[in-house]
């Protein structure tokens, strides 16, 4: 009480303004929590429905909870196999796209070659091209090469789809190394090997991690190509989810699979947010 009495008028005014802004922000936070939170909350609810105690109108939440749905999905569907397929394709696709992207990113990031803009656009093609067109007609190419319905074919397809992100992000981080640093290293007598080990690798590491995360999530989410090239021999999480949402829509199964699919992704989002500058996020996503 004393404090406010002694406080000059302008400070009181300032507090009021601050509080006002806080209210506005809070308002947005709440709207946003509803916007993002409710859909996720509903999915969680549906995955916990007790099959013996149906959830229907007019209840806003299920009358009782159980883990029965999760047990069912794991026991009676192909989800376990799909998880295994998804999580074995993704790391391979990440490594392959990293290896293929590294030299190209170096050139695009550090050399001022003629036609660079064209290369940068070409590299974006897998991201820009409508997925289903690529999927259908790539499947023709794969047919000719005997890659359809094979594991290798899926890895190659996923690699293709994650390369735009990988190349864009790594190109950005190569380009952001100041030439001075490299010159200084050379001036101090650093050879090629030392330059790579002590200059390039440490300086592109954040970009590399970001690129890998984007490549990984792209692979986990990839639907079009997997659906055309892989099914029915291979099922990944997205294609299995698609089948749950198709003609025989089973909401409870779909919610379990949805949660399985998005939880790792959201965790990755927070890793990206925490450890990486948002530049990488925008570099990989936008600005052609």
């Amino acid at each position: 009480m004393d404090k406010t009495m002694a406080m000059p008028l302008y400070l009181i005014k300032k507090r009021r303004i601050k509080r006002f802004y806080l209210m506005i922000t809070l308002f947005f936070v709440i709207i946003q929590l509803l916007w993002v939170g409710i859909p996720i909350f509903m999915a969680i609810m549906w995955s916990l429905v007790n099959p013996d105690d149906a959830w229907s109108y007019p209840n806003l939440i299920p009358p009782s909870f159980s883990l029965e749905q999760w047990r069912y999905v794991f026991n009676y569907t192909n989800i376990a196999r799909a998880l295994k397929t998804s999580y074995s394709i993704a790391p391979l696709a990440v490594i392959l796209s990293f290896l293929l992207s590294l030299p190209t990113s170096y050139v695009l990031g550090r050399k001022d070659i003629p036609g660079k803009k064209v290369f940068m656009l070409v590299v974006l093609l897998p991201m820009i091209m409508p997925g289903m067109v690529v999927a259908l007609f790539l499947s023709r190419v794969f047919n000719l090469m005997g890659l359809s319905q094979t594991f290798l074919g899926l890895v190659l397809a996923h690699t293709l789809m994650s390369m735009p992100y990988m190349i864009r992000v790594m190109t950005t981080s190569f380009a952001s190394i100041p030439q001075d640093v490299i010159d200084a290293a050379e001036n101090l007598g650093a050879g090629t090997f030392v330059k790579i080990k002590d200059i390039f690798l440490p300086m592109i590491r954040p970009g590399l991690i970001a690129g890998m995360i984007f490549a990984f999530t792209t692979s986990i989410e990839e639907f079009n190509l997997t659906f055309i090239i892989g099914t029915p021999t291979f099922e990944t999480i997205p294609t299995i989810l698609y089948s749950f949402m198709g003609y025989n829509f089973i909401r409870t199964n779909a919610s379990v699979v949805s949660l399985l699919m998005m939880t790792p992704n959201i965790i990755m989002l927070f890793i990206v947010e925490r450890f990486l500058k948002s530049d990488y996020l925008s570099a990989s996503l936008g600005k052609m």
Partner: protein, 285 residues
């Protein structure tokens, strides 16, 4: 002046794994699409040049309906997302308390796969979904509203906006953050009120970003397969859907290829129009 680097064999060798890989697979699939749409390169049966497949697609009521539907989804999704994202981007221009957290929450859908997003929103807008249930309990409506699989495609648009809002927001935020505070102050100082500042400064200066966002959104929504097939109307289906059905169900690969070429051409045309328009907007600067 920085010196230009030459295309030495070494540089070409370095480009091959990345650019070469992409060019090979994307290039070959585009080529096959184009060739098959003209009757060449059939896997079985005879091949030979014909415009017959184009004629039959362009005279097919269903194909045209699909095309129009996908165009509508593309345009409305991109306009809708930008309309929602732009005020948010303005709000995020200045840092403030709790905005960091808010920024993280907003980005969540970015990392939620399209199909999952479709499922999440579907829970809300379906016939017996949360929104209908709530509205009915509040006695605002007597009959559930049809928001999913509706013939106009509102369900699809809602999902597209929900899923792509963060992506568009990021693009718009980076466009807006490059507008200097001084520029805004100068406009205010010269007598511009809030609306004038918005329409004469923010929007024109953010225009390149707005265009990129709209183009990318259009391409995504126009060529979309999974979201429309889950949340779209029974008829018409999206072009991508129709194409897939043609190819895999009816084995009409040539006609599917025609639709593929139409999708590719639309995509490239939009990008080309964007680059022309962007030049105009930015002038010779």
């Amino acid at each position: 002046m920085k010196k230009k680097d030459k295309m030495t064999p070494f540089i070409i060798l370095m480009l091959i794994p990345g650019v070469g890989f992409i060019v090979f697979f994307i290039g070959s699939s585009i080529s096959i699409t184009v060739l098959q749409s003209l009757g060449f390169f059939n896997m079985m049966g005879e091949s030979g040049f014909t415009l017959g497949y184009w004629k039959s697609i362009l005279s097919s009521r269903e194909a045209i309906d699909s095309l129009l539907f996908s165009l509508r989804m593309g345009i409305l999704s991109s306009v809708g997302t930008v309309l929602v994202a732009f005020p948010l981007a303005l709000f995020f221009r200045k840092s403030g308390p709790a905005k960091g957290m808010l920024g993280s929450i907003i980005k969540v859908p970015l990392f939620i796969p399209a199909l999952v997003a479709a499922f999440l929103i579907l829970n809300l807008i379906s016939y017996h979904g949360l929104i209908n249930t709530t509205l009915m309990r509040l006695n605002i409506i007597d009959e559930p509203l049809r928001m999913l699989n509706d013939s106009f495609g509102w369900g699809v648009i809602t999902i597209q906006i929900w899923k792509n809002l963060p992506f568009v927001l990021l693009i718009l935020m980076s466009a807006i953050s490059s507008i200097r505070d001084d520029t805004i102050d100068a406009a205010r100082n010269l007598g511009a009120g809030y609306w004038s500042v918005l329409f004469r400064i923010y929007i024109p200066l953010a225009m390149p970003g707005i265009l990129v966002a709209m183009i990318l959104m259009f391409i995504k929504a126009f060529g979309d397969f999974p979201i429309t097939s889950v949340a779209g109307p029974v008829y018409p289906s999206s072009v991508a859907n129709r194409m897939q059905i043609m190819a895999n169900l009816y084995q009409e690969w040539n006609q599917a290829a025609v639709l593929g070429v139409i999708i590719i051409i639309t995509t490239f045309f939009v990008i080309w129009a964007y680059s022309r328009f962007a030049e105009l907007v930015q002038g010779g600067a």
